[in-house]
């Protein structure tokens, strides 16, 4: 019996090993290397030599107003777009499930923002909002309104544009995931609720959302992790400006690493980014793990 178990364990190990090794190579080692670099001074153009500095870079982070600002921007760019994506995504999924008039073609259309490369999305939005010749100005002219708004020149409006873009990119994907989950819920439940006098809204509030809670949480974790993957859109639309108003932590890491070659500092920023994201996602991940048990 022991031999059988040992043989079975070996077989498991042999099957898991390739994936585990690949995971270590492409995930664990880069994370550890990034952490290692963050504890050293490393700038190939500096006269100062590569060397151990311990937690010094982390100390400098706390003194760096640009980093602190990027944290604030990161919070905006995670909390608001994710909340909007979840809310709008749910509303759209319900609308599609109910097969409201004119929604049959929406499933195909919804895929578009999700499949357009982010850099192209950035260009499309830039052309749309550029003052004078953009789509916003044109739409204003159709309504007889002069909409020569330079939305990217003011910190608040630029951040607003990025939030709208991020929501635009992420919502269809969320809606499709929610829709597939909604469609697995038995119609009997809704019919029973209807017989008990529950309205449309109450049915979804009391049936759809509680049943979909694990899916909602999983989607939320994915969207939080993906929220700052709009880097190319920021790069093209605002370049992090004006005045750093659209510069989240990962963008600042890019600037530090690739423009100033402060490789160690960029690594420090990335490690902090990783830790913050994990803190953000931890409550959801714990709940998901508990639910799985």
């Amino acid at each position: 019996m022991k031999n059988i178990i040992r043989h079975r364990d070996s077989a498991y190990l042999a099957m898991v090993a390739p994936s585990a090794i690949l995971l270590v190579i492409i995930t664990i080692i880069p994370i550890l290397a990034t952490f290692y670099i963050s504890l050293h001074f490393f700038n190939p153009t500096s006269t100062r030599q590569f060397g151990w500095v311990g937690w010094e870079n982390y100390g400098y982070l706390l003194e760096d107003s640009r980093y602190l600002n990027s944290l604030r921007v990161m919070l905006w760019l995670i909390v608001i777009p994710v909340a909007l994506q979840i809310t709008l995504g749910m509303a759209l999924a319900i609308a599609l499930k109910e097969k409201l008039a004119g929604t049959s073609w929406m499933r195909v259309l919804f895929l578009l923002p999700a499949v357009i490369p982010p850099a192209v999305s950035g260009l499309v939005w830039k052309l749309f909002i550029v003052p004078g010749a953009g789509g916003v100005t044109y739409m204003g002219s159709l309504l007889g309104i002069d909409l020569q708004l330079d939305l990217l020149s003011s910190p608040n409006s630029a951040l607003f544009v990025i939030i709208v873009c991020s929501t635009w990119v992420g919502t269809p994907f969320v809606a499709l995931l929610f829709l597939s989950s909604l469609e697995t819920i038995s119609k009997d439940l809704y019919e029973a609720a209807h017989l008990d006098g529950a309205g449309w809204l109450q049915s979804h509030w009391s049936i759809s959302i509680p049943i979909m809670r694990p899916v909602i949480m999983t989607v939320m974790v994915f969207r939080i992790l993906e929220a700052l993957a709009i880097f190319p859109i920021i790069f093209i639309l605002t370049g992090g400006g004006p005045a750093g108003s659209t510069e989240p932590v990962n963008y600042y890491a890019y600037v530090s690493g690739f423009q100033y070659l402060k490789i160690d500092y960029a690594a420090t920023i990335i490690v902090s980014f990783f830790v913050i994201l994990m803190v953000f996602c931890a409550p959801f991940l714990i709940r998901i793990a508990r639910a799985a048990r």
Partner: protein, 439 residues
């Protein structure tokens, strides 16, 4: 008879094809140049066939927009990639790349007549442009082709209509002029607002110096940052007022392209902008201001005039496998003859050789004298007023200047007062200097 004829034919064949078949100095070498997209590189790329004819080496240019090129060059050099033999560099880059040995010293190559056939005549270069590419020991790391500064381009007709018979001489005067030149829908000026060492800081630094501000207390002896001094704050406030009150829409993120187009299309009355951009502003096919412009030195502040000054050139990648051919190409492309040809074939005029500035053909093409003074004379005068230390030569300067540029933008958009923005920048600069062990 047949043998005789064959012998004659062979002799004729050898005599006629021999020179063509003779090996050239760099036969089979392919040079790759990492360049910025500008008139100089466009034209040199076309002229490079002549270099190929002379030496056998072919030349391939990869051109990128300025920001992309700078980033790519940094990565290529610091990773010691040999993909490119020659790379674009600005004067202030030398301090960044030489400590790590990323650029090839040129003196030995330029002095070797087996490599560089003709004397490169370094004495003919504007001395300051050469010095920007030297290290503290005087070793040369690049040859400049581009001498950059800013001059004032003004629409003499518009100034006259507003009651001015000469351009403003000081920054305060410029603001007052704009008060009369601007009207709703007609901005007075265009300025670089994008936060970067080569955009808003290229403009603002001369104002800061003019109002008594400096980056450091006593560079290089005392590196205590002083970007929040009273003079710097006063300059930043005036910069923001000019931009917000009288600038073109979108000024806050404008770069030199937007400024150039605004002046070229006659949308503004005056700009202080790169003198080398005169070729584009006065482009025969696009410009609406030909015949209307005057040229003057950039305005001064209470503490004097500090015209921007920088140079650009090409350096040899220390990791290149074709250093000798690269040196030969560098010398050829910056020779007096080639430089002059580039100016005659294109809108490029920011030359670094005195002999080209004195050349009658060059003067004829690029004088742009519409009765309000010679452009070439204003350019030359401004180059003389330019300060070599406009951008300080140490590796962290770019990050520091960019940080001040960001502070300027914070003030321009109203998220901070000038004092607050520059105080925050000053603190961050202390951190940058501490990290580099300079404080």
């Amino acid at each position: 008879m047949f043998k005789k004829l064959t012998g004659v034919a062979v002799a004729v064949l050898i005599a006629t094809t021999g020179p063509a078949l003779a090996e050239k100095q760099f036969d089979g070498v392919k040079l790759r140049v990492l360049a910025t997209k500008q008139a100089w590189s466009d034209t040199i790329e076309k002229l490079a066939a002549k270099f190929t004819e002379e030496t056998g080496a072919t030349v391939q240019f990869d051109q990128f927009s300025f920001g992309q090129a700078v980033q790519k060059i940094t990565i290529e050099l610091t990773t010691k990639s040999s993909a490119y033999d020659l790379v674009f560099v600005s004067g202030s880059d030398v301090a960044q790349y030489t400590p790590g040995g990323f650029l090839e010293p040129l003196s030995a190559h330029l002095g070797n007549r087996d490599i560089v056939k003709n004397d490169p005549n370094l004495a003919d270069f504007i001395p300051a442009t050469l010095r920007l590419f030297q290290d503290s020991d005087g070793e040369q790391y690049a040859l400049p082709h581009f001498a950059a500064t800013q001059i004032m381009f003004y629409n003499a007709d518009k100034l006259k209509a507003a009651g001015f018979d000469k351009p403003p001489a000081t920054w305060a005067e410029l603001y007052d002029y704009c008060g009369k030149l601007a009207s709703p829908g007609n901005p007075c000026t265009a300025m670089r607002g994008k936060p970067s060492v080569s955009e808003n800081m290229w403009y603002y630094s001369q104002m800061m110096y003019g109002y008594g501000g400096r980056f450091f207390k006593d560079y290089p002896n005392d590196m205590t940052p002083t970007v929040n001094s009273a003079g710097a704050v006063e300059a930043a406030e005036l910069y923001a007022k000019l931009l917000n009150d009288f600038g073109i829409p979108g000024s806050v993120s404008a770069g030199f392209d937007e400024v150039t187009v605004a002046m070229q299309q006659d949308n503004v009355s005056l700009v202080v902008e790169g003198a080398p951009l005169a070729g584009r502003i006065l482009d025969a096919k696009l410009s609406k201001v030909i015949g209307k412009l005057g040229f003057a030195l950039p305005p001064a502040g209470p503490k004097g005039r500090f015209a921007p000054f920088a140079a650009q050139g090409y350096a040899i990648n220390a990791a290149s496998k074709n250093k000798e051919a690269a040196a030969a190409f560098l010398a050829w492309s910056t020779s007096s003859e080639t430089m002059k040809q580039v100016t005659l074939d294109s809108s490029f005029l920011a030359v670094t050789r005195k002999s080209v500035w004195d050349d009658a053909e060059f003067r004829k093409k690029h004088d742009y004298n519409y009765g309000h003074g010679s452009f070439a004379a204003a350019y030359e005068g401004t180059l003389q007023a330019g300060v070599e230390w406009y951008r300080l030569p140490f590796p962290e300067f770019k990050a520091i200047a960019d940080r001040v540029g960001l502070a300027l933008q914070e003030h321009v958009v109203g998220s901070k007062t000038a004092q607050q923005a520059l105080d925050d920048a000053n603190k961050d600069i202390i951190t940058i200097l501490k990290r580099a062990s300079r404080l």
